[in-house]
């Protein structure tokens, strides 16, 4: 655990990429293989199952620190992180311990079988033998909120450097469902196949956005300059659903979402067509709700995401289908290195053979001769229920992760509205103890009606200024929320808008975010509820 705590600290202590990679390599080279796998699991978002309820952890921490509940809550507001708050509040440790990360995680995993009193004793004696830095990572493990300021790419790079495997191979091998208790470092490093797990997805290839602002659109000439001839590109609509990879191997099917969640059971409608695919087929595509052959807005699909049980009613109200746009494996062979056009041909062939064309759809290619023409076509995105256009270079392989160059997403303008900030709340993590989460309102006659919360999009300097404004202009406090003197105007961008019975304004926004601070606008000139409703 000491090495792991030190790793965490060292990563925290530098902002330099090379230094982070160096620190990661040093860790890999100094710990036992089982620790390496646990670390990899944690750093790739495979959190251990939470074995103690966070409320109990809080309660026992308060007891040990001798502080009242309200003071604990206020401390948490200041720190913005539960594991760290507990670390800072506990009295100094009296003991020390040399247990490895693997041993600690094993102990944590055995807690399930213990009584509450046993858990408490275990937790208190654990805290007593860990120093501050160890306690912090330990609390993170325990409360399941493990997030590290280092990207998976860096971890993969460090592993690649010490193992002489290439990054894409490692990225692929750490995808999917594995547990550090079963997947060994040896298997991870093994040359071929031995460790292959039939459920394992390929890393997703992600598109880079073509940057535009509402004032400045890309002209056909600029596209020509940046991307070359239109003839080298394949264009499709950009669908607004759930990105998914669908696997059929050894008569079994797996559906993976982009967050590397296994979502097979969430989409029973897709099972028949997947089962009918030849073994050794992997498709990439978008899952959307469909009705009468037409895609429906994302919010229809949203109603069934996150549900544990899919009732008959839900399945009837928002039935799903797939719009496939790529094929990554065919006849058991990884074909990611074939060109986009070659893969497209294979995909078309696979789709042509399906007996479920209503469920297994294919993303139609847009016919265009010039950038000029495509710009024109893009204007129809909203009526196609698409977010814009995807551009894929015909000669490109299917790559790993978000890469510039061969896949571009060219979205249509986000919707936006000018609104007044009326409530503020403190943020978390890097934004702890700063007012960074705001609620916005628009005018309804002479009243301001709240309609959205947003917390991203400002620069650090703007955040400081707004934070200062909030502290100086608080009208009332309700727990952590402050009512702020209405004055500041922000442009709020969003992806979609729908009717809502749950919100005072009668509308709900999708992905609201702050586009910019309209320091040029007095609050009287903010938009009205009427303008907002007109966007429905």
């Amino acid at each position: 655990m000491k090495a792991f705590a030190q790793l965490f600290l060292s990563l925290d202590e530098t902002n330099k990429t090379n230094e982070k990679v160096r620190v990661l390599k040093e860790y890999f080279l100094s710990v036992p293989d089982t620790d390496k796998m646990h670390m990899l699991a944690l750093f790739t978002g495979r959190k251990p199952k939470r074995q103690i309820n966070a409320t109990l952890v809080r309660t026992w921490a308060m007891e040990m620190a001798h502080i009242p509940v309200w003071l604990f809550e206020e401390s948490y507001q200041v720190v913005g992180d539960l594991a760290e708050t507990i670390t800072l509040l506990l009295p100094k440790s009296t003991n020390s311990s040399n247990k490895t990360l693997t041993e600690w995680i094993a102990e944590i995993n055995q807690l399930g079988a213990k009584t509450e009193e046993e858990r408490k004793q275990w937790l208190i004696s654990s805290w007593e033998m860990l120093d501050a830095q160890e306690r912090f990572v330990f609390n993170k493990l325990l409360t399941g909120g493990f997030r590290i300021g280092v990207s998976q790419n860096l971890v993969v790079k460090a592993l690649a450097d010490i193992s002489k495997l290439d990054s894409a191979t490692i990225t692929h091998r750490i995808m999917g469902n594995w547990s550090p208790e079963e997947y060994t470092f040896e298997q991870l490093m093994a040359e071929e196949g031995a460790s292959d797990d039939i459920s394992r997805p390929y890393p997703f290839f992600l598109a880079y956005p073509i940057q535009e602002t509402s004032e400045k659109q890309k002209s056909p000439d600029e596209l020509q300059l940046a991307l070359g001839d239109a003839g080298e590109w394949q264009a499709e609509w950009k669908w607004d659903g759930i990105r998914a990879q669908m696997i059929k191997r050894d008569d079994k099917i797996f559906i993976w979402s982009r967050g590397e969640d296994l979502a097979t059971e969430k989409f029973p409608e897709l099972h028949p067509f997947l089962m009918a695919l030849p073994n050794g087929t992997v498709l990439d595509g978008e899952i959307l709700s469909f009705q009468n052959g037409l895609p429906m807005p994302f919010n229809v699909l949203q109603t069934r995401i996150g549900r544990k049980n899919l009732s008959k009613k839900i399945l009837e109200e928002s039935p799903v289908a797939v719009i496939a746009y790529d094929c990554l494996e065919y006849a058991g062979e990884d074909i990611r290195n074939k060109t986009q056009s070659e893969r497209r041909e294979i995909l078309e062939q696979v789709q042509a053979e399906t007996r479920h064309p209503e469920i297994f759809r294919i993303s139609a290619l847009i016919d265009f001769k010039s950038w000029d023409e495509l710009s024109e076509i893009r204007g129809q995105s909203r009526s196609m229920i698409a977010e814009g256009i995807m551009l894929k270079r015909k000669s490109a392989a299917y790559q790993v992760g978000r890469r510039r160059g061969d896949w571009w997403k060219w979205k249509i303008d986000a919707l936006s509205i000018d609104a007044v900030m009326i409530y503020a709340q403190k943020g978390h993590g890097r934004r702890a103890d700063l007012y960074t989460d705001y609620t916005f309102a628009v005018w309804d006659g002479d009243k301001l009606v709240p309609f959205a919360k947003a917390y991203s999009g400002l620069t650090d300097e703007e955040i400081r200024k707004v934070d200062n404004f909030v502290k100086r202009n608080t009208l009332e406090k309700f727990g952590p929320v402050r009512t702020v003197k209405p004055q500041l105007v922000f442009e709020i961008g969003f992806e979609g808008i729908n009717y809502s019975t749950r919100h005072k304004s009668g509308v709900a926004l999708r992905f609201p975010r702050i586009l910019r601070w309209r320091t040029d606008k007095p609050m009287e000139e903010a938009d009205t509820l009427e303008t907002l409703r007109a966007l429905l």
Binding site: N15, E74, D81, R430
Partner: protein, 373 residues
């Protein structure tokens, strides 16, 4: 009828009507007693000032031409029958708690203070009183300091590591207090100490006052980055991210502040290293200081006043939250330096008039302003 309290809180500052003087006023007054020279406590414009003798030159440097009377710790000054005396606060060199006594009633104004002996400021002494007016900048239980020797061990080994790796080392701390505390605790066998002009001006003022400080080298236009590479540069917060600082690239930069105990605060500053080093009392320090005065009532002026006051009341003190303007200007705390065009930046620092607003340590939390709402 209740008699008028000896000290009261007015819109100009802490006021003694009987003695006709103010303590750390934020508006110009006739008579101002100053706890210490930080800009939120010592402001220009008053007619007469009274302060500790070790703060004389710094006050004159910062406030310009002032009429200033200085005293040593424990010396008594009478004003309209009210006895005023200064006791060490341990915050920065020359910082004092102000004891005010009239007819056996004793009030003490802490100014800012810390409990640990930092080796250069006269250490804090508890002063028995009936009424104690205290700061509580770090009045939350998450703030607990380690002994400074541990922090300086970290700082020195970080510097040593950078020097061995051909990286310049920039350490950031407020120009009065933190800068000298750092300077006096560095391991000078590693290399030379270079200072930003704002800090060196303060050092010079202190030296004129007879304070002995380690050797420093003011950074000027002629200072080369090769020269400073093995050394350490002490810079004020206003230099962070400035062209002045970027000139020393490649460098590693560390920030010294009590706020560094919270990861989020460190990450916001994008510092390579955050060292927990504060000139204020931590949670346990505040409580023990207040307890040691044996006071009947305690008033909390700036910091996490609401929470700390509530807690003190729960553990049996008679505590009151008051609104003051101490704790500084939040906006300036981390503000980038006034946009100075590349080129004139190096000698900028040697212009004596540019005084940074230091001791903004008392701010990011909402501090005194929290109360001002």
């Amino acid at each position: 009828m209740a008699k008028k309290p000896l000290l009261e809180f007015t819109d100009k500052g802490i006021y003694c009507a009987r003695g006709s003087f103010y303590i750390d006023p934020w508006s110009p007054v006739d008579d101002a007693v100053i706890t210490h020279a930080h800009s939120d406590h010592a402001r220009a414009g008053s007619k007469r000032y009274l302060a500790h003798r070790d703060s004389e030159q710094v006050l004159r440097y910062r406030l310009g031409e002032i009429q200033l009377q200085t005293v040593g710790y424990g010396e008594k000054v009478m004003k309209n029958g009210v006895e005023i005396s200064l006791y060490p606060a341990g915050h920065v060199i020359g910082s004092a708690q102000i004891r005010v006594c009239y007819q056996d009633e004793v009030w003490v104004v802490s100014g800012d203070y810390k409990m640990e002996n930092d080796g250069i400021s006269t250490p804090f002494e508890p002063v028995p009183c009936h009424h104690f007016i205290s700061e509580c900048t770090f009045g939350m239980p998450v703030y607990k300091w380690k002994p400074q020797v541990e922090t300086f061990n970290e700082i020195n080994s970080w510097w040593r590591h950078n020097a061995a790796n051909e990286l310049a080392t920039v350490i950031v701390g407020y120009s009065l207090g933190k800068a000298q505390r750092i300077l006096q605790n560095l391991d000078l066998s590693i290399g030379k100490v270079y200072t930003h002009g704002v800090i060196e001006n303060t050092n010079e003022a202190l030296r004129r006052n007879g304070i002995v400080l380690n050797e420093t080298h003011r950074i000027t236009v002629d200072t080369t980055k090769e020269e400073v590479r093995k050394g350490i540069i002490i810079a004020p917060p206003s230099a962070v991210g400035s062209p002045w600082m970027r000139r020393f690239n490649p460098y590693d930069f560390g920030y010294c502040s009590g706020w560094m105990s919270i990861r989020g605060a460190k990450r916001r500053r994008a510092a390579d290293r955050g060292f927990v080093l504060s000139d204020h009392a931590d949670w346990d320090g505040l409580i023990s200081a207040i307890d040691a005065t044996g006071c009947e009532k305690v008033y909390l002026t700036h910091g996490y006043t609401a929470s700390f006051t509530r807690y003190l009341n729960e553990i049996g003190f008679d505590a009151h939250e008051v609104h003051t303007l101490y704790g500084g200007d939040e906006l300036e705390e981390e503000a980038p330096p006034k946009s100075s065009p590349e080129g004139r930046t190096l000698n900028d620092s040697s212009i004596g008039t540019e005084v940074d607003n230091d001791d903004k340590e008392a701010s990011p939390s909402g501090g005194g302003l929290e109360g001002a709402i």
